[in-house]
Amino acid sequence: MAEFLMPSLGADMTEGTVTRWLVQPGDHVDRGDIVVEVETDKADMEVEIFEAGTIEQLLVPQGEKVPVGTPLAIVATAAAPAARVALPETSGPAPPLAEAPKPAAPSPAAPRPRATPTARIRARELGVDLAAVHGTGVAGAITRQDVEHAALRRAPEPAPRAEGRRLLVSPRARLLAGERGIDLATVTGSGPGGSITAGDVERVAAPTAVAAPSLPSGPAVEVPSGRPRAAGRGPIAALMERSNREIPHYYLGIEVDMSRALDWLKAENRKRPVPDRILASALLLKATALAAHEVPEVNGYFIDGGFQPSATVNLGVAISLRQGGLVAPAILDASAMPLGELMRRLQDLVARARAGRLRASEMSSGTITVTNLGEQGVDFVYGVIYPPQVALVGFGKVTERPWAEAGMLGVRPVITASLAADHRASDGHRGGQFLATVAKLLQEPEHL
């Protein structure tokens, strides 16, 4: 048994209209068959199916507009022929469902939805509100299957707790969750009567730091492991959780020859007195800021379902704290800043971050963030974007590599720059242009 879902046919597609079904219940389909025509804001498209089997039921009639991810049809696949949709039919009392506690009975004036008697019984059992179910039976009547599908569609929602009553949260826990941006629905209560306490909120704030290092692979590189959790971890944990939940990340990497940049820096620093010397980090930041200015799709916020590019580049810098923890304050308008000034700002920011004296405006104003993990020996960073930003740029360590250029092989210091970007705001093409710009800028360090 499989569901055939309304697909996403473009990064910006949120819903589609079923214009024509090309199959009917009972039809056999093979992987790759065109089964439905869908109209989006931009185009009409034919949609293929990726399951082989028999169309059991069409759930969305022609002409109806539904969100991406909505089940359009049920397919009885070869592996599980005619298996009934997995529903808790054996359990006696109706399971508590999100819609169960309707504040008031449907008003008597509302027309009674047309439904079959078995559909009504099933709706009562499953706690489904018939008014919210689309009927596919005779004359649009709601069938038992319609009810079950409606219940199924609801199933992935977070399980309601306390029989759908208001969450029991202590005032302090509520305050803390607000401060740290933690969704109380994700917290398990351990206090009196199962209430959520401040300690419970703090435990939820912690797990990213604890769990991430054990992930098999992937975008956990950023999380320092084996260090005591600092107070700063809580908000970061909530933010990172949200990022991975909401943002469709894509990742690109590019190797950059650093010989010119480092040679130039060495010569430059020889001219500079000790307190004015510049770190390679500052060069990387400046190149990133300029590139972000040139490719605005990676610089800004994704808010309210849309991307808002930023005119200035406020460069967030991920700074690890000495006792563990991470903050990412921003250097405002970094692309317009001379390199020496950028270095001074970076120095100041690191010092203040580690002394716990950052300003709120610096914490919330970043439009793109850079994390440099080269000093930890990391080669490649698969970053997690700071919402509502749309890109995170990572730098690994500088290593000597064989490098071919103009037909000649040599050994060069090489760094890998990576981009984690929000696919809702940009595509790989623009992301690639951004990284190429970073690489190009680092070849002309004197202009940075």
Partner: protein, 83 residues
């Protein structure tokens, strides 16, 4: 500057960089980086701190000589303040 003064100077600067560290346990010949959780920004601030306290101009090429406590002491004892 003698060896005791040099050691005292180095430890005083390190205390501002890594205030949480127990510097009395610092080993002579192990790099600060491996003992104190120091990154390049910290190291630059260390060099600046030593420069400010001693007046010695430390060129970047000499940085490797300053990566251990013993190295720092030798370097500072041998160096002459600028000007």
């Amino acid at each position: 500057m003698n060896a005791d003064e040099a050691r005292a100077t180095v430890l005083a600067v390190l205390a501002t960089i890594a205030p949480e560290a127990n510097l009395s346990e610092l080993e002579l010949d192990v790099e600060f980086r491996d003992q104190l959780d120091i990154d390049s920004m910290d190291f630059l601030n260390f060099i600046i701190g030593v420069h400010e306290r001693t007046g010695i101009d430390i060129p970047e090429e000499d940085y490797p000589a300053l990566e251990t406590l013993a190295g720092c002491i030798n370097y500072l004892v041998a160096a002459r303040p600028a000007g």
